[in-house]
């Protein structure tokens, strides 16, 4: 029953945009406004846009920058989160810095990024990594702090070294929380991918949308927007599949402890 509900939620997440799109299609069919062209035209424009060279000049670079930035955030977020979770001292000493940094809106950091790194892939990757790292870091810290001390005592009594305890006990135990942080980070990452790509860029999705808007290419603007949305849905779907596999035990465990 739990599993069907899970897949039901996944189905709903895929179905909602489809229903909205159908509504849009019907309501815009006879539109003559230049700003709200019929969806039919938008879809046509979408395929025209993304089957051409824009695929390699704009879509691919953005997706790659997202993936690289996200991977950096994942690695850094979990490692630093682990460190902060294990060391109350590090937590105390670094908390002003982390609290300040995570409160900064990414949009405000774009100018700084432009000044320090200049426009281009490096700056965009850095901003994506910076934006994504905080939810992962905070979730990892909390997850590590929340590991049951009895589990840790058990592992210690059985002679597991610190490294073995981290790999065998701490990380798996913190994984459900880390996963929740990762999910938030995906949304931030996609937003940052677009925002960081708007100013000073010469290729990418954000650049493409702005470029289309400034050349009064309404269909192009819509095509860009749709693609960004599609990437979001896809990333979320991938996340759910990975989470479903990795945390199968957690669903069962939670269901079994809810009863008692």
């Amino acid at each position: 029953m739990k599993a069907t509900r899970r897949w039901g939620i996944l189905g709903l997440e895929l179905a909602t945009p489809i229903v909205l799109i159908a509504l849009w299609w019907a309501l815009s069919a006879h539109s003559s406004s230049p700003y709200f062209p019929p969806l039919k035209d938008i879809v046509h424009g979408f395929f025209q846009t993304w089957k051409g060279s824009n695929l390699t000049t704009d879509l691919l670079p953005s997706v790659l920058r997202f993936l690289v930035g996200f991977a950096i955030a994942l690695l850094a977020g979990i490692s630093i989160g682990l460190l902060l979770g294990l060391s109350p001292r590090a937590r105390r000493d670094l908390s002003p810095l982390t609290e300040f940094s995570r409160a900064l809106p990414i949009a405000a950091l774009v100018p700084v990024g432009l000044v320090i790194l200049g426009p281009g892939a490096t700056m965009e990757i850095a901003l994506i990594a910076f934006g994504c790292v905080w939810p992962i870091l905070v979730a990892s810290t909390d997850g590590v702090r929340g590991v049951d001390p009895v589990l840790l005592d058990t592992a210690r009594a059985y002679g597991l070294s610190r490294r073995q305890r981290i790999r065998t006990v701490v990380l798996p135990a913190a994984l459900p929380q880390i996963a929740a942080g990762v999910r938030i980070a995906i949304g931030i990452g996609i937003a940052t991918m677009v925002i960081a790509n708007i100013f000073g860029a010469t290729s990418g999705l954000g650049y493409f949308v702005i470029q289309a808007q400034q050349s009064f290419d309404v269909l192009g603007t819509w095509a860009g927007l749709l693609m960004i949305g599609l990437i979001g849905v896809l990333a979320n779907g991938l996340y759910l599949i990975v989470q479903h596999r990795l945390l199968a035990w957690h669903r069962g465990w939670r269901a079994s402890t809810e009863g008692s």
């Binding site: 009895v150 005592d153 009594a157 465990w253 402890t257």
Partner: protein, 279 residues
Amino acid sequence: MNTTEDRPSGRASSRDENASVVLDVRGLHVTYGSGERAVTAIDDVSFTVQRGEFVCVVGPSGCGKTTLLKTLSGLMAATRGEVFVDTKPVNGPPPGLALVFQEYTRSLLPWLTVLGNVTFPLAAQRVDRATREERARSALAEVGLSGFEEKYPWQLSGGMQQRVAIARAVAYRPLVLLMDEPFASVDAQTRAELEDLMLLVQRDFGMTLLFVTHDIDESVYLGDRVIVLSGRPTVVRRSVEIPLPFPRDQLTTKADPRFVELRSSILDQIRHERSGSHL
């Protein structure tokens, strides 16, 4: 064959020349905090456990039994005194020591199967895969859990989960197994089954056990010897030999007049401790 006659009696005086002492506790003293607010949990505890001996530890509630076990297992440092496992001083969890906690749901890793839970300490000791699986399977068979290897702990009842924890300890082949009120949170029937399981495990493997419990009947039923602790700050009040014959049985052993006499004598002592601590 385990009979009381051929068991060593664990006299403390012979510990220095006796090579079969597995656990040796000398003048253990544990204080929490410091200065004005220091609380002495354990004042002065000394005892030894011989190889193959089943020793139970009882005491009034709040007498620092858990502190004692944590110190013995190297999870907590003693303020004074020394602990030796197989003549090597303990500082940090010693090799060859296994621990079974009261909180079985919290000492099993919920993301590992039953088999994974039994094998992970062996994997950490770099025992090869074939050997650790074989040891785990035979340990699970010993505790009556054959066929449950691929289940997750949370799919099992409380008693079965504690059996998994016991199987993990058995597969580890420890020099000494410490158990911290292991059956305090299971129902009475399961508890009797698990007690008999421990007698079986001890007989089959000649295991050395230090079993902490608040249940005096349990301690007399299981032990070759019962160590009676005082209330806080804890000292050893008595070490009582239990000359009841093996195999022990829930019905006949507990009806034995010697059983009744021993449990009454220990209960009386603990009651005395309790009233004494109110003074």
